[in-house]
């Protein structure tokens, strides 16, 4: 056992650090939260820079245009970019973390050739059309249909909570192709071009006030059969491939971000005057800061342990669910602590003069989604209880 990075890993880190130090000052200011075209342009320009410098698709295999980095190098990449406060993966998330890896595993050569280079270069933005109004945690209840018509599928239905749909070029779409089959066996995975006739995007307003996600209405949308990924009715298995990526290392950079936020909260508490001193004089507050610092330290240790296990060829089902549950809870507690320090400055999501409140308040509200998206906390606990602790399975859906 060893905490240290190898010489090669350190060399990788130093190269990356140098590149970040040189590149980040050249970036334009981040766009307005609600200006989606500008956000897309900003995120994809960042991806293009990563690509030009050889850092696109760090974890993708080299034969598919990625860097083919080891899990440890991937950890270093996420750690260093977060530390340097480089732009977040943003609109490139689904392409780089879901759709691309899915095409690598389950796509045809033609599909890979068409999409993978464009995703890596930041020329193609994807969204994920899995959830439906009546199929969330119970994803296999999805009802959007696709009926074969010659060499096309004709798709009808509705998707919801589709992040980045407004600016996406393609959507990874789960549809039902065999309504008579058992639920998991009648699902197919399609590549939907977002400009196809019959696709309507209706932005939904989130609790933050922004439109991070949308509703997708699909009316007689024609998708070529050639854009099917995997076999017809085998989409559930293909989707599970996607999930195994989603629950892997997706949150590692966010641990660094948590530490930054916590440090900001501590700084504010030291700077906020009270009757006889500052907020920092309150031992209760200091202890809560300390406990959350312990959480962050522990999560980082767990992330490194998970990465080590992945590097040793183990599949981190347990590690990933444990990590997601605890990370998301900690992040929400940090938000509450920030609000406690801000006091009534927490009543505005926009900056008040000198209060340092805006980003912290927005973050507090935004983290409400963390325990919902990508498998709710309750679903994660079911997974741990059943798959790790071996307790009896939840009652399963049976046809009415």
């Amino acid at each position: 056992m060893d905490l240290r990075y190898s010489d090669e890993e350190l060399a990788f880190r130093d190269r990356l650090r140098a590149w970040l130090a040189e590149t980040l000052p050249q970036l334009p200011p981040a766009p307005d939260r609600d200006d989606w075209p500008a956000r897309r342009a900003y995120d994809t320009a960042w991806q293009a820079r990563l690509h030009a410098a050889g850092y696109a698709g760090v974890d993708w295999p080299a034969e598919h245009g990625g860097l083919g980095a080891s899990p440890t190098e991937q950890l270093i990449f996420l750690e260093e970019t977060a530390r340097a406060r480089a732009p977040y993966v943003g609109a490139n998330f689904v392409g780089l973390l879901h759709a691309g890896p899915t095409l690598i595993v389950a796509g045809t050569d033609e599909q890979r050739a068409r999409h993978l280079p464009r995703i890596l270069r930041g020329e193609e933005v994807w969204c994920q059309g899995f959830s439906e109004p009546d199929a969330g945690s119970d994803l296999a209840a999805l009802r959007t249909t696709a009926v074969r018509d010659g060499d096309h599928y004709v798709v009808n239905g509705a998707k919801v909570w589709t992040s980045h749909a407004e600016v996406a070029d393609h959507c990874e779409l789960l549809v039902r192709t065999d309504p008579a089959a058992p639920r998991h066996r009648g699902i197919t995975w399609l590549i939907l071009p977002m400009d196809a006739p019959g696709v309507r995007v209706r932005p939904l307003r989130t609790v933050v006030g922004s439109s991070e996600f949308s509703e997708l209405i699909l009316d007689d949308v024609r998708v070529p059969v050639a854009d099917r990924v995997g076999a017809e009715n085998d989409g559930w298995r293909v989707a599970m491939v996607t999930f195994s990526f989603e629950r892997g290392t997706a949150f590692i950079g966010d641990v660094i971000e948590s530490r930054n936020i916590l440090a900001e909260v501590a700084r504010l508490a030291r700077a906020t005057g009270t009757a006889g001193g500052t907020l920092w004089d309150d031992p209760g507050l200091r202890r809560e800061v300390g406990r959350l610092a312990a959480e962050v330290t522990g999560l980082w240790a767990l992330a490194r342990k998970n990465v080590s296990e992945a590097a040793a060829g183990m599949v981190p089902v347990q590690g990933a669910s444990v990590f997601k549950l605890r990370f998301t809870e900690s992040r929400q507690r940090i938000g509450d602590l920030a609000a406690r320090v801000l006091g009534r400055a927490s009543l505005a999501m926009s900056d008040l003069p000198g209060a340092g409140n805006g980003r912290l308040v927005e973050d507090r509200v935004n983290t409400l989604s963390f325990t919902i998206a990508a498998g709710t906390s309750q679903i994660q606990k079911n997974i741990l209880a059943e798959r790790v602790l071996g307790l009896p399975k939840e009652p399963r859906w049976t046809s009415p």
């Binding site: 056992m1 060893d2 905490l3 240290r4 990075y5 190898s6 890993e9 440890t72 950890l75 916590l262 440090a263 501590a266 031992p283 200091r286 202890r287 809560e288 800061v289 300390g290 406990r291 610092a293 312990a294 959480e295 330290t297 522990g298 999560l299 240790a301 767990l302 490194r304 342990k305 990465v307 080590s308 296990e309 590097a311 040793a312 183990m314 347990q318 590690g319 444990v322 549950l325 605890r326 309750q378 994660q380 606990k381 079911n382 741990l384 209880a385 059943e386 790790v388 602790l389 071996g390 307790l391 009896p392 939840e394």
Partner: protein, 319 residues
């Protein structure tokens, strides 16, 4: 970077686990709870396995391993609820080279001079007491420390004595290493206590039936257990990292790693112990079921080598 166990480490852990499973059965623990005098034979058996000499140089009969191995071993000791002043005796051997500590001939306990109330564990069974001040450490023959045994200790397997005055003793070292290592080893015991409590609760949840199904099929119960699992896994990663930082201080931030490990492990053990009691229902409130022993041990260990609040303040000061 590699945080996975080597084959040797796995063998060390598995060997000890198998030994403890046979040595510290539920019946043995119940018996010990009713007559808690330290079993010297059992103590020497641990020493013979090398438990106290893990970090002692081979030339002195030890195994010359590191803190990483120590936390694997201490997790197993905690999981089996092995009684005795394990951490103090271990540190007396590893850090201070006190005669007889590694071989099990000398039982060493400790007292924290900075504590407002002196309550010493296993004083009657001990041969030597290490008194830790703000900076220094002193060794005292246990016979020189006058203590009043508590009639009813909280943890039935850990007799405690109230000590009014600690005599001076011989200076034997610095307190900093004692406290850091002690916190990490105590945290490792806590991870074991938490895991043991979880194992017991999961087993019961898979057997006990109500409403015509095992209670482990009820989601309220499942989620309690899953939450315990999350706490144990997080604490284990933190403890392992702290131990590796003890072995290679330049590879990390030792003060941060130690404090985080103790905070998270105390939380895992105390909340895990409570969970175990709760999942057992009325049985959990009986002396007979071991659930209370996990929780009481967790409460005991939480007070040693810095309670979580103290460590939390340290972490806050570093932010």
């Amino acid at each position: 970077m590699d945080l996975t166990l080597s084959t040797d480490q796995r063998d060390l852990r598995d060997g000890l686990r198998a030994f403890l499973r046979d040595a510290w059965t539920a019946d043995r623990l119940r018996a010990a709870a009713d007559s808690p005098d330290l079993d010297r034979g059992a103590w020497r058996a641990l020493a013979d396995l090398g438990v106290f000499g893990l970090e002692v140089p081979e030339s002195d009969g030890g195994m010359e391993l590191g803190a990483a191995e120590a936390v694997l071993v201490f997790e197993e000791l905690g999981r089996a609820l092995v009684p005795g002043p394990l951490v103090a005796t271990y540190l007396a051997a590893a850090l201070l080279g006190r005669p007889g500590a590694a071989t099990g001939a000398t039982v060493v306990t400790w007292a924290d001079r900075t504590a407002p109330v002196q309550v010493v564990e296993h004083l009657a069974a001990a041969d030597e007491v290490i008194a830790a001040g703000e900076d220094g450490l002193w060794a005292l023959p246990a016979g020189k420390v006058a203590g009043t045994p508590a009639g009813i200790p909280l943890d039935p397997l850990t007799p405690v004595s109230h000590v009014v005055e600690l005599p001076a003793g011989d200076p034997v070292g610095r307190a900093a290493a004692w406290r850091d290592r002690g916190a990490v080893l105590t945290a490792a015991l806590q991870v074991g206590v938490a895991q043991g409590a979880l194992d017991l609760a999961v087993r019961y949840a898979g057997e006990r039936e109500q409403f015509g199904r095992v209670i482990g099929s009820f989601q309220a119960v499942k989620h309690l257990l899953a939450e315990s699992l999350v706490r144990v896994d997080l604490a284990r990663a933190a403890v392992l990292t702290a131990a590796l930082t003890l072995d290679d201080p330049a590879a990390g931030d030792l003060a941060e790693a130690v404090a985080a490990a103790k905070i998270l492990a105390d939380d895992a053990a105390t909340a895990g112990g409570r969970c175990c009691v709760q999942v057992h229902g009325g049985m959990g409130f009986t002396w007979e079921v071991l659930a209370h022993l996990y929780l009481k041990r967790a409460w005991l260990l939480e007070t040693g080598f810095g309670e979580p609040g103290v460590h939390a303040e340290r972490l806050a000061d570093r932010m």
